[in-house]
């Protein structure tokens, strides 16, 4: 297959060998599961259970609320202990509303929706409903509700479902293992998704450092004419949606548009497997494969983990972590630091890394020497050095003008910077600050509108009062006049 070059990008130390040959193993049932109502982009789910309820495996615990949201199910049978706030697996360390489920150890299944015997005979809507019902979100880490993304076929003319198995993040091998061990499920899920999208073609893109995965998928896809496997070069961030689309199709997604606008929808391979389970077996999303790795972790592994399992349990299963400088959820490039190990694994947790200082290679920033590496390696064609200097001086508008909002936070610039300047941190700050200022501005405008409406109403009321007073006065005067005129007669008209 002919590939197209993408600009910039880096070749970090991948260290995938720590776990790439470790087959997926299941974690024993933990003592309690902590299921945040928000494990996805969009609105938090709304609970359908009360503390004290007994639930079965696969039972709905919280339903999607609003257009962009995702349901949460019970990963095993047990009792709802509480619905309370606990620390979220998010760098802020802020609390999030969470359902606490204490397993009863029986692992009894609830009654599941029927398997869809022939998914290609039903309408796309049926597939989308099933995916939504199953609480599936983008499992590469973006956690966007998959059903919504599968609905892009209704608004766009799609040509290709691009299945993302690039896994360009260092350390992570969970997708690699899924592709190797569940190639048939992945290909089947992809075909179902393509049907739901109305996309005639499926291309599964895998970086060439995963030859076994490419081989397994090739075998699984051999029976289907419209499914092909595309080996792509090892180059970070090949797995970024827009860049992968460009590498495979040569089409460059315009800024502020979706890849769907150029006829391509990208889904992760683990999502395809989840869709397969949901459609073929009626099973909602209850677990995911997590790569536990890093120099600090005693026994790096690929673990199939029930959602809601605490990271501490997972690390214990992997022999514990000693001497970690950073704990990261996801890959080392775009993953988020964990505020605590006492947080649950959620739908978007692709990896738990315990990284030593030798691996993070952190250092105090030194002055910028304008070497221009960040410009050379930026896969988005930005000028990080200039943006960071604007942001340092709080010139957020100028930074926005030269594209800080087009930055995908891939981390290539920070990685390559010889002065160790935290460039991506600056951009994350700027993006967050710009959004916050935007919110404040909107709030202010809203207040102003309310105040104006309030004042207008007061004015109207005052006006009405004046008019009423005038009317009353006039009526009174008229009445008095009438009374005077009729003073001779009895029972004058009383107004």
């Amino acid at each position: 297959m002919k590939l197209f070059p993408i600009m910039g990008g880096i070749h970090p130390e991948y260290r995938k060998e720590l776990t790439s040959e470790k087959a997926i193993v299941a974690l024993p049932l933990p003592e309690a599961l902590y299921l945040p109502l928000q494990q996805h982009m969009g609105a938090p789910a709304g609970t359908t259970v009360e503390p004290g309820d007994l639930v079965k495996k696969g039972q709905l615990l919280a339903r999607a609320s609003g257009a962009i949201s995702a349901a949460v199910h019970a990963p095993t049978s047990g009792r709802i202990e509480a619905i309370t706030e606990i620390t979220a697996p998010h760098p802020s360390g802020l609390p999030t509303l969470t359902i606490i489920l204490v397993p009863d150890g029986k692992d009894e299944w609830a009654e599941l929706p029927d398997a869809i015997a022939d998914p290609f005979a039903v309408t796309p809507q049926v597939i989308r409903d099933r995916v939504a019902q199953s609480g599936i979100v983008g499992m590469g880490g973006a956690t966007f509700p998959s059903a919504v993304k599968l609905g892009l076929g209704t608004s766009h003319k799609l040509e290709i479902l691009l299945l993302n198995g690039a896994e360009c993040e260092p350390y992570l091998t969970c997708d690699d293992r899924i592709m190797r061990e569940h190639a048939d499920a992945v290909v089947d899920g992809a075909r179902i998704m393509a049907h739901a999208l109305g996309a005639p073609k499926v291309i599964i893109a895998v970086e060439t450092n995963k030859p076994q995965a490419i081989e397994a998928l090739g075998k699984a896809a051999a029976a289907f004419d419209n499914v092909s496997v595309a080996p792509v070069p090892v180059q970070y961030p090949m797995g970024a949606e827009r860049h992968l689309t460009q590498a495979i199709t040569g089409r460059e997604t315009p800024a502020r548009k979706l890849t769907a606008d150029v006829g391509v929808v990208v889904h992760n391979v683990a999502t395809a497997r989840a869709v397969h389970d949901a459609v073929r077996q009626g099973r909602p999303l209850l677990s995911r494969v997590v790569t536990v790795s890093g120099g600090a972790v005693a026994e790096p592994k690929n673990v199939e983990v029930l959602l809601g399992t605490k990271v501490t349990e997972l690390l214990k299963f992997c022999g514990g972590a000693q001497g970690a400088k950073r704990f990261v959820s996801g890959g080392p490039m775009m993953g988020q630091p964990l505020p605590s190990l006492d947080v649950p694994v959620v739908k978007g947790t692709s990896g738990i890394l315990g990284l030593t200082l030798a691996e993070t290679k952190e250092a105090e920033p030194s002055p910028c020497i304008r070497c221009g590496s960040c410009v050379t390696y930026c896969p988005c064609g930005l000028v990080p050095v200039e943006m960071a200097s604007f942001i340092r001086h709080e010139k957020l508008e100028e930074a926005a003008k030269i594209g800080v909002q087009d930055c995908v936070s891939c981390g290539s610039c920070s990685y390559i910077c010889p002065s160790h300047i935290p460039l991506v941190h600056y951009f994350n700050y700027a993006k967050g600050r710009i959004a916050a200022l935007d919110r404040e501005r909107r709030k202010m405008e809203q207040t102003k509108a309310l105040v104006e409406a309030h004042n207008a109403r007061l004015e109207r009321q005052a006006q009405a009062k004046r008019e009423a007073a005038a009317k009353a006065k006039a009526a009174k005067e008229a009445a008095e006049a009438a009374a005077q005129a009729q003073s001779s007669t009895q029972g004058g008209a009383s107004a």
Partner: protein, 179 residues
């Protein structure tokens, strides 16, 4: 030498005179910035800045010498907007920001007197006579007028708890997180 000094002096005097005249002739009588500044303020006339209302604060700002950090409901966004318009630095270091707040009515203490409703400039409180009042927190802009007028001290100004959705990374080097 004399010629040089002389010519320079003449030039200086002439140009100075021209500039002086131009300044007089082209002077703008009213300060047009005042209205612009007022547009940047919330307009709820809460008076927390110490002036009677937003227009008075705007006038004082236009005149100069007044800190730009007095508008509490406006928050950091307003300070920055004012700073930009006035061309001064938005030095918010000395200014202790309270963080976003919202009015909250303690149900046990509210007697349904309606006074807060009359005071609220953005119609953020609903309720009927002798009935419990409630704050629509989305509409509340924390001017604190209701808090001041409540006869039973049923109204408190509560800080809005930071949320994950509203959180963002602080600037590198800043030790405290921004919410």
């Amino acid at each position: 030498m004399l010629l040089d000094v002389g010519s320079l002096a003449v030039m200086g005097v002439t140009l100075g005179a021209m500039l002086g005249t131009a300044a007089k002739l082209l002077a703008v009588p009213v300060n047009p910035i005042e209205e612009e500044l007022q547009a940047l303020l919330p307009g709820s006339q809460c008076g927390q800045c110490g002036f009677v209302g937003c227009s008075q604060y705007a006038a004082a700002l236009a005149k100069g010498g007044t800190p730009i950090t007095l508008c509490a409901p406006g928050g950091k966004g307003t300070i920055e907007a004012l700073a930009k318009r006035l061309g001064v630095s938005a030095d918010t270091d000395g200014h202790e920001e309270k963080g976003p707040e919202v009015a909250f009515i303690n149900e046990d203490l509210c007697i349904g007197c309606l006074r807060c409703i009359g005071e609220c400039g953005s119609d953020a409180i609903v309720g009927a006579p002798k009935q419990l009042h409630t704050v629509i927190s989305d509409a509340c802009h924390a001017c604190g007028k209701c808090f001041k007028i409540c006869p039973t001290e049923a109204i408190v100004m509560k800080p809005i708890a930071p949320t994950i959705a509203g959180w963002h990374w602080s600037k590198p080097g800043d030790t405290h997180a921004t919410h």
